[in-house]
Point group: C2
Chain length 433, copies 2
């Protein structure tokens, strides 16, 4: 089962079923706009059919290169930021270690932290290492700096020729500094499709190569995504398209003054999927004064932190729970003589069972505190479920953007800080700092 | 230097200097309420003087036990949730590894994740281990379950008597299940003061023992906190009490419709300090419909994720930056022949320099996008700076709570989900699920 279930519980402060139904015609129109490619940002709709239109050959090429890299390396450093970082990281953290035959995958180029880089270099000592640098232009500051340093490290370790064999580049088909550089040095390259924006690129080589290197079955991943694509594109009727329903409810709640969406989980494995979702939602919707603030919590940890605020703070918030239907490993609670902590009533139960009752208790408590909620349930931590989740959120966020009346595929606001930074750094042609 | 500097830049969408000055009398009143102990929650003001009133003996006792534990152990597992978890974790993550003579410190009991526990047990194989369980009552589900499992593991490994020697309990002075259990088994105990609530307890044995075990100089930490205490309690005049000014601005911005505070850093080392702050602020202020939503971001990572939203989304937000004045380690940017990525203009500069220009560029860009900001600068990642930061935020959040008209020291909303959960789990005396 790769299907994703969506429940919602919006009584009191949220939307009525009637109000939800009233959104169907608007959703139908946006679905048409999206699937016919007639809306804003329509030159970036390549993600819409990536699962169904990615042929066998490109997948086999990725698998082949991942295999070759793992034959000579203990660890891959995946260099990228934003959409060239979060998708692969989300996938590897969701699936957990122990993916068969996979390398350790480390990430770099997603910040300017000296500590992060220094710790990474410390860690790589004594390991055989390869690098996948992922950048459309090759000139984005963070990944370009990290690549400079890691390439220098590889050359010092292995010499020019062997270093070149250990570097794989994911970049533009023909333009850009990184493409030119790769051609000059003879690095192997994979292509970032022109019509796929960064935050929608996880199911392209951007995400697939580091995932494959980490041991993920990328064919199962793509098959899960393909099933979700078929579901989402077949109809926008709420009862058969939970992603459309999720989008509609988000939009409806936003119009009712719910300005913060908390994506909540009871499983730390979802952590980077939450981070991936924050970029997807925040960058797609946060423009022209629109957009839900995308926040995330990890319960039960954060019930002892933000739980008070969620229960009794301002009522400008709703929760979307990410739930796992089937647990992973199993830990049973032991019996103790004399019951010193009063927990013998749980003896013989599993930690997972207690965790799921905490989820049910929390959802009900927060609803009673006037926090509407939705619950997205996936079967298990499998590549197929992961692929389905990626596509589910991509479709839903694109849909929400159109419902909000913005272009979900641009990011006009991310240039200003760079312009300021380049001026301060004295970049040629940027004026004085 | 342990002093904390606070800058603000609130022009345009924020508060005027005049509006800030107008808040001084209200702040003065709340300062009196706080320091005279005449306000709501005044039986929980023990944190106010912890730095100045903690004598040498209790610190020496903590250091002694930390030393004894580290003589027989490679790793300490610190078991706790909420305020019995986040303070020590924040401190150890802020100061980074390499604290002299410290053990590895792991955390448990802060969630109900089977994966987390199973990974921890895997990791502990082959290590010598001790445990510090931190719980006022001893019956909070998460830490109590983790302690059951870890105690069982210790007994299986070492036998009853040696296991008991490796368990240290931080709990109530005389009441509660854990205190009784500790007395019966002969565990060493430290006391959680009656007048210090969980989220304000990091400078008590709750935080100090795991910090000392991790190699932190807790005397330097307390001295930094003591200097901050002296500053904060001497006067509430904005020009000499930056914590009071921070509280006033937060309150003023909240009244102007800024409902989300983003605590932003450019250094991953601040990650768990941000999490600690989220509990401190969220749980103290989020009640009776009040309270800023406390969010956190790690830039530059999140500039490629939430940056678009912050720049151009709804203007219901302000940013508080956590800045480090002095960098830690040093990585220099190399020159490349032919400048293939166009970054030679940075050659010879450090990564930290680029990071700080990214900070300055971001702050200016977001201000131009009508996001008011404050900047909290600390000198370096030292125990003294950490102690000062802890106290700074404790005072500021208590002050903000009083300004908002709520009791900053209770948490009435955290019981409901537990009640639901206990019913679902069939806890005796809770009714049927």
């Amino acid at each position: 089962m790769t299907s994703i279930e969506l429940d919602h519980d919006l009584i009191r402060e949220g939307l009525s079923e009637e109000e939800i139904r009233a959104l169907q015609p608007e959703v139908d129109r946006c679905h048409q706009t999206l699937t016919q490619g007639s809306g804003a940002g329509n030159s970036f709709l390549g993600w819409l059919h990536l699962p169904s239109r990615t042929a066998d050959k490109p997948l086999a090429d990725i698998e082949q290169v991942a295999r070759e890299l793992s034959e000579c390396s203990d660890a891959l450093v995946s260099i990228g930021i934003g959409g060239s970082y979060l998708g692969a990281r989300a996938g590897l953290s969701f699936l957990g270690k122990g993916a068969e035959g996979g390398m350790e995958v480390h990430f770099a180029g997603h910040n300017l932290s000296t500590d992060h880089l220094a710790d990474l270099f410390d860690h790589l000592e004594g390991q055989d290492v390869c690098v996948n640098v992922i950048s459309k232009s090759g000139t984005t500051t963070e990944p370009a700096l990290a690549f400079r340093l890691l390439r220098q490290w590889l050359i010092a370790r292995y010499g020019d020729r062997e270093a070149a064999r250990r570097i794989v580049v994911t970049t533009d088909r023909e333009k850009g500094a990184l493409k030119q550089w790769a051609d000059a040095e003879g690095y192997r390259t994979f292509v970032i499709p022109d019509d796929v924006g960064g935050r929608f690129s996880v199911l392209s080589p951007v995400g697939l190569l580091p995932l494959a290197a980490g041991g993920v079955d990328i064919r199962a991943l793509m098959e899960g995504a393909r099933q979700q694509e078929a579901l989402a594109l077949a109809t926008s009727a709420f009862e058969r398209n939970p992603a459309a329903l999720y989008a509609a409810i988000r939009h409806g709640l936003r119009k009712k003054g719910k300005t913060i969406e908390i994506l909540a989980t009871f499983h730390p494995a979802f952590h980077y999927l939450q981070e991936w979702w924050k970029q997807l939602a925040g960058e797609s919707e946060g423009k022209e004064g629109q957009g839900l603030f995308p926040a995330s919590v990890e319960y039960t940890t954060d019930l002892h932190s933000l739980g008070q605020w969620v229960q009794e703070g301002p009522r400008n918030v709703f929760e979307t729970f990410l739930r796992l239907a089937a647990p992973g490993r199993r830990i049973e609670i032991p019996t103790l003589q004399n019951d010193p902590d009063g927990l013998n009533y749980l003896a013989g139960q599993t930690i997972d069972h207690v965790n799921d009752q905490a989820f049910l208790g929390t959802r009900a408590a927060h609803l009673e505190g006037n926090v509407p909620n939705m619950t997205i349930t996936v079967a298990r931590r499998s590549p197929a479920a992961l692929g389905a989740l990626f596509y589910f959120f991509e479709y839903a966020v694109a849909m929400t953007g159109y419902l909000m009346g913005v272009n979900p595929f641009d990011q006009p606001g991310v240039e200003l800080y760079k312009k300021n930074m380049f001026r301060l750094l004295g970049k040629p042609g940027q004026g004085k700092g």
